[in-house]
Symmetry: C2
DNA sequence: AAAACTTTGTTTATCCACTAGACTAACAAG
DNA sequence: CTTGTTAGTCTAGTGGATAAACAAAGTTTT
């Protein structure tokens, strides 16, 4: 829970905070008794009892049968009700659309994917509506039903949820949030794909225990999502993490962004493919792809393997910069390039081991995404869930 | 005020929060009446009255004569008592020691500076004690006296205040915090010099209104202090901001850190001096210095001017990376290189204007330090003040 | 100048959520 | 059955916020 600068403090705030505390405890450690919640949070037994009753009424938790006695009365075990509601998470890519239906614990209940090329906004919008409606139909009955929709997009999203620019989709100043909110009358969250991926990994993936995570979304371009002090950092206007355009070679080649020697000219999927094409590794195929190159490497093509190694090395250069900047607990490499883990990992970790400052290397993990292709969709789903739960914690408005 | 994960919420928290709210309001907007505090914070008039009485008892505020009537009873104006206590801020540099005595509003009451070269730890410690004691003696009488000591050091400080490594001082694993706390029986804060500088600028300098500030401390090396979402970001172990060792030229020259093409090899004071020496600009002087080079530029020496311009350009390259990474409201260049603003600014801002992403440039300010040489000392003083005030907000412990 | 109105600041009664501790319930061990 | 232990509820008390009444000290209107 966040307390803004000018928020006043009163008993509502206290109750909201403690209710969250109790719910989080149950969510993380269930099955758990009221007594254990009380002793572990430091709250009074009576307080816990009363808050638990509220949560039971909201169907956010439920009681199971009695647990094991530890020498006295047997405790009533409390469980988080993961299926009290469902949320829809959409990963809207440049040439694919991946939708999931997830319960409140991030379990994927239903999944739907479409691939396309160079479709118009209208066509993509239609596909989006179709996906959302199919997923909604797939949701089991539950006390709260669908609690929200989240969409991750490969572009820049401002704080109001407007998509300011998605260069690879050719979108500009598009308020998808309003469109969806009006159509479905549900809370909608639009977020940059890398930010969402970072949050997904924090909530449900490799970074569960970490407060400072840097998620490197390496695909056609490179974007970075920043989890700092446990929450997403978005910058003054929501444009943080454009590290694909970080200079790593002052006199390097020109980038379409106007700068020279940008990281993504060296380490992105596009860069890898460009280099492969220059070498003429796979000349017979016009529509050359990362997966083709992967196959070549798996077949033992030395040129392909060397290309991957070089790319891993370049990834390491940027990750080094990330480490020196943020001193994170964890760096997670996600998006399409994560699929090439096997061929990238060695040269990447070597680069970091040899060139990062020694004291930065303690307790530092460099991982590839655990959620693989679902990071972004699960991330926006997580935003929806958080939002829903935080609304649940607020005191009910009395009907007039 | 921060609420940790497992902090329970109760009456004390509420009161503490509201007391802070009232004090902050008065501190920022004094002179102000109780009625105005109430309406502007949203608190009830009675609540404000009672909290104001607490603050009056603590001598943190005081009443002045009546203000102007606005058609009714004349208000009693409240003022923040900036001289309720004093704090000591020390900027412990590689070859200088700057100490200030500051009141609770960051006004420098007394100042003391020493310069030295290659002194032992013992000698520096003696100098430090001497400085602290002289500043203490210079403090006027006040209700709370000296409320704390802060020290900024050019090195890496962990979360417990231990100096893990200060390469330019040749210090390692030094717990200066304990030394000072035991000697003076006062709360002591040790902080990295760039972090402190960033905080100083946020509290008392160019960044007062900003939530996201990046402070570039450009001296012999380059360190960066990060103010994100209004508070200092220190990373998992307190090692964030080592951006001087960010790679900006993959195949660049070797750095003593083990990496190649580090930013500070291009844009630091050391880099500037090295280039000047190579050019033989000032051969007759063995002990060549930034200030000498500045004089040359002021005399119109074209080579010197060009050197500065080139350095400004290199600074711009790294600042570009900073902007793409953080999307800050403000970048502040501090430490010794800030003194060369006149000769660096043009090429620096040109580099940024030409090569940063266009949408990053809205509402972006690039400034040179307002506090000039005092940023760090004022920053650690600010930490001390914050700490003192937050203790004041806590409920008094009852004597047993 | 008296009356009416405004604004400031204090006081009082009430409310709300937490705490401590008594109490009830349910179980284990002797 | 008795005693001891743990789980969970209930009751009284407390602290701090709020709303509203009230007192104080002005200004404006008549």
């Amino acid at each position: 829970m966040k307390i803004g600068m000018n928020q006043t403090w009163n008993h509502h705030v206290v109750k909201e905070g403690n209710k969250s505390l109790v719910l989080d405890k149950i969510k993380n450690d269930y099955p758990i008794s009221r007594a254990a919640v009380a002793s572990q949070t430091g709250l009074n037994k009576g307080t816990v009892s009363s808050l638990v009753n509220d949560l039971l009424e909201d169907h956010l938790i439920f009681e199971s049968g009695p647990g094991e006695s530890s020498g006295g009365r047997r405790p009533v075990m409390l469980l988080f009700n993961g299926t009290a509601g469902y949320t829809i998470g959409i990963d809207l890519g440049v040439n694919y659309l991946l939708g999931i239906l997830s319960d409140l614990e991030g379990n994927v209940v239903s999944q739907k994917e479409a691939r396309y090329k160079k479709m118009s906004y209208e066509a993509i919008e239609a596909k989006l509506f179709e996906t959302i409606e199919e997923l909604m139909a797939a949701a089991p009955d539950s006390p709260h039903g669908i609690v929200g929709i989240g969409v991750g997009v490969p572009g820049i999203v401002d704080k109001g949820g407007e998509i300011l620019l998605a260069p690879n989709l050719n979108w500009k100043n598009l308020n998808l949030k309003n469109v969806l909110e009006e159509k479905y009358d549900l809370p909608v969250i639009i977020e940059n794909e890398a930010n969402a991926g970072a949050y997904g990994e924090k909530k449900f993936g490799a970074g569960k225990e970490c407060e400072n995570i840097i998620y490197v979304s390496a695909g056609i371009g490179i974007g970075v999502g920043l989890i700092l002090n446990g929450s997403l950092y978005k910058g003054a206007n929501g444009f943080s993490g454009e590290m694909g355009h970080m200079t790593i070679q002052i006199d390097g080649p020109k980038c379409r962004c106007g700068n020279q020697g940008c990281w993504e000219l060296f380490a992105s999927e596009q860069a890898l493919i460009d280099r492969a094409e220059k070498l003429g590794i796979c000349p017979e195929q016009a529509d050359f792809d990362l997966s083709d190159l992967l196959k070549l490497a798996e077949q033992g093509n030395e040129q392909a393997i060397e290309l991957f190694e070089q790319t891993g090395d370049y990834l390491g250069v940027g990750i080094n910069n990330i480490i020196n900047t943020f001193n994170p607990q964890q760096v997670i490499i996600g998006n399409r390039m994560a699929s090439s883990k096997e061929w990238l990992e060695n040269s990447l970790t070597n680069r970091v081991a040899n060139q990062a400052l020694w004291f930065q290397q303690n307790d530092l993990q460099i991982n590839f995404s655990e959620l693989s292709t679902l990071s972004t969709a699960l991330g926006v789903a997580a935003f929806s869930i958080e939002n829903f739960l935080s609304v649940c914690m607020q005191p009910k408005l009395v009907m007039r």
